[in-house]
């Protein structure tokens, strides 16, 4: 059937215009209003606001806490990417290649944390880390390693590393499923051919599986990076509220503190702009670093 030009445009407009309007209202508008408020001295709780030009940005560059929040964020990004990808890959390969009978059961078990709210996970892990009645310290004491027990979340040194474990635990399931999807799309014949050529399981993994699921790995890593930069705020807020002494503040939680606890909404918006710019640079950089020619056998 031949479509007239008018029909074609009407159909395209039907698909694009509502989406674009939604996008404009829910993404562009907040984006630009955030940018707009970053030029104001505003408490965020009244109508009085004063235009102050770039003062908030000058404050941002002189704020001694900001560099630490950035370091903390990237610490979480790096540790989460490494931890989640290694474990998710391991489970995905084990559940698809090793022909375990209980695979569907494990799939559900590993995916389970993903259907729980991050807030619930945070609260759960604060109990696990509780110095006197928590699982971690009592477990260490049970194993005779009582001297390793410490107030994990209450220590300026250990609080941030302690946040990594729940973040990884909460993230594995989703990426395991993504990788399993990728692996099950790899034709069996490649493995048979590799086996005939004398490749062992390890070589099969490196030479067949990994290159063929690279697109899934790339997307997973990008997704972890973006969600960590934008969302690590929740776990920090629930478990430590940025403390003790700012030792766990990430950019998002510091934004929250400035905007809603210290009533510096304008400065909070400025931190938001910084997060946007850093996320953008990071994602572009990752895209560049992870580019690879598509592998086909």
């Amino acid at each position: 059937m031949v479509q007239s030009k008018k029909q074609k445009y009407t159909f395209l407009a039907f698909c694009l215009v509502p989406t674009f309007i939604m996008f404009a209202i829910f993404t562009l508008y907040p984006l630009f209003s955030g940018l707009y408020y970053s030029f104001f001295d505003w408490s965020g709780s009244s109508q009085n606001k004063e235009f102050i030009g770039f003062d908030n940005y000058i404050k941002l560059f002189n704020d001694a806490i900001i560099p630490n929040t950035i370091i903390h964020d990237y610490f979480l990004v790096v540790t989460k990417v490494i931890g989640i990808m290694i474990l998710a890959m391991f489970f995905a390969v084990a559940l698809t290649q090793l022909k375990i009978k209980e695979a569907p059961f494990y799939r559900v078990v590993f995916f389970f944390p993903n259907i729980m709210s991050v807030v619930v996970i945070g609260i759960l892990w604060t109990f696990i880390y509780n110095p006197s009645m928590g699982l971690v310290n009592s477990g260490l004491e049970f194993l005779g390693l009582g001297n390793l027990a410490r107030p994990w979340l209450g220590s300026e040194t250990w609080a941030l590393p302690s946040l990594v474990l729940p973040s990884i635990w909460a993230g594995i399931g989703l990426f395991m499923l993504m990788l399993m999807g990728g692996i099950s799309n790899v034709s069996k014949s490649y493995y048979e051919a590799a086996e005939m050529d004398g490749a062992n399981q390890w070589q099969q993994f490196w030479k067949v599986t990994l290159p063929l699921v690279w697109p899934q790995i790339k997307i997973s890593i990008l997704y972890i990076v973006i969600t960590t930069l934008n969302g690590s705020f929740v776990i920090v807020q629930v478990m430590t509220a940025g403390g003790p002494n700012n030792s766990t503040h990430v950019m998002g939680s510091y934004l929250y503190q400035q905007a809603f606890v210290q009533y510096n909404f304008g400065y909070g918006a400025t931190i938001g702009v910084m997060i946007l710019i850093l996320s953008l640079i990071t994602v572009l950089l990752m895209q560049f670093l992870m580019r690879r020619d598509k592998v086909e056998y």
């Binding site: 445009y9 694009l16 404009a24 209003s33 709780s45 410490r150 979340l153 300026e156 003790p244």
Partner: protein, 451 residues
Amino acid sequence: MNRLFKGRFFLLIAVLLMVALIAACSSGEDNNDTDDATETSGTPSTDAEGEVSGDLEIQYFVGGYGDSWWKEVIADFQEEYPDINVIEHAGPNINDEMRSRWVSNDPPDVVYIDGAGSSETQMVEDGQLMNLTEWVEGIELEGGDKLVDSFIVQPGKFNGEIYSLPLVFDTWGTWYDRALFEEKGYDVPTDFDSFMSSMEEIKDGEGIEPFVTSGQHPYYFLRGMLYPAFGAAGGEELLADLITGAEGAWTSDVVLETMKKVENMQQEGMFDSGLGALNHTQSQMNFLLHENSFIPVGFWLPNEMANDIPEGFDFGFIPSPMQDEGEPFAIVPDLRPLAIAENAENPEAAKAFVEFAFTREYAMSFSEHTGAIMNITEVDLTENENVPGYLTEANAMINDPEQVQIYEKPHPMSADLETPIGNALMSLMLGNMTAEEFVEEAEKAAAEYRD
């Protein structure tokens, strides 16, 4: 496809983008319209006979004091003023939930300022509260006493003007389990030295770290222990200088000496080593479970934890014992005020409610409901069986200047100063900073705050 983005479609997208931009950049100016719209929908007025009527919106935070007192007052008010329709906005997160109403200039009529997310200082600075200076002069209590002469602590003043009336008189102090102390023969502290020796005794006797507070909110220790300590050591003048961040106040010798006491507590292992991560409820729970034996919080503690109190637990309250030997205890009152919005839609009804709530009768029932004190004098709690024992005792103690000195602070400390000082304080309490380093950090924070 390429043509698509060159022709009309591109124009459409460009227009939409412009609309989004304009909308984003013009939000500040269009609020007058919303005002008009809401005014016509509401029904505020004083009707023909001079009776107040219409909708009355009341915002109140529900925390440790619960909401039963509010329910009682509102029900009585409703009976007295049947033409007024009271709309309650209440809950533990009500300050955040109502924020958009305040920002869009459509506030409730009456607001009780308490709890996280609320700041009286901020509201006054933002011009959100009605000036009550003249109106309050005309209010009388049931016996004919003028309300302004019957406050335990006078309303806070901003440039000499009154914007809120202090409803709740709370004070931070140090709690202990009287039953445990009596059973084991531990001494109830009377000054800092006896506090240290009592904690030493408990440390040995119970095998616990005796002192706990919420590390997630370092201001608990600041308000609960340090304000009284500063009051005792340097009086109201020092307290005011520290709260306003006056130059050199935080590095003064008196402050350093006080902070040395805190350092001493840390070095002697008096602080719970896990307190850095504890939130409000966890720290109070630790105290109730005898994981620790002293906690500095306000009068809300027994009421808030009512469902978790172990059998045989008997609340004992003393003003925080940070003062030197021979000095009286120090108390710094913490007031939670009631205010009327500058842009209240029904100011007459709002005034009627505020006047209605401030009576000695409700002050008595406030103590019964909440275990705390309303900011009205000459309310005799001793005869009332429904008032908890710790409260009558504390009340008697507070009213005896031989035992307790009251130091008033000019206004609450701004969050911009309290946050960095609290962070440094936490570091000191965890042993990662010395008292000397702390006062330097605090002085730096005060300098930044002054700018």
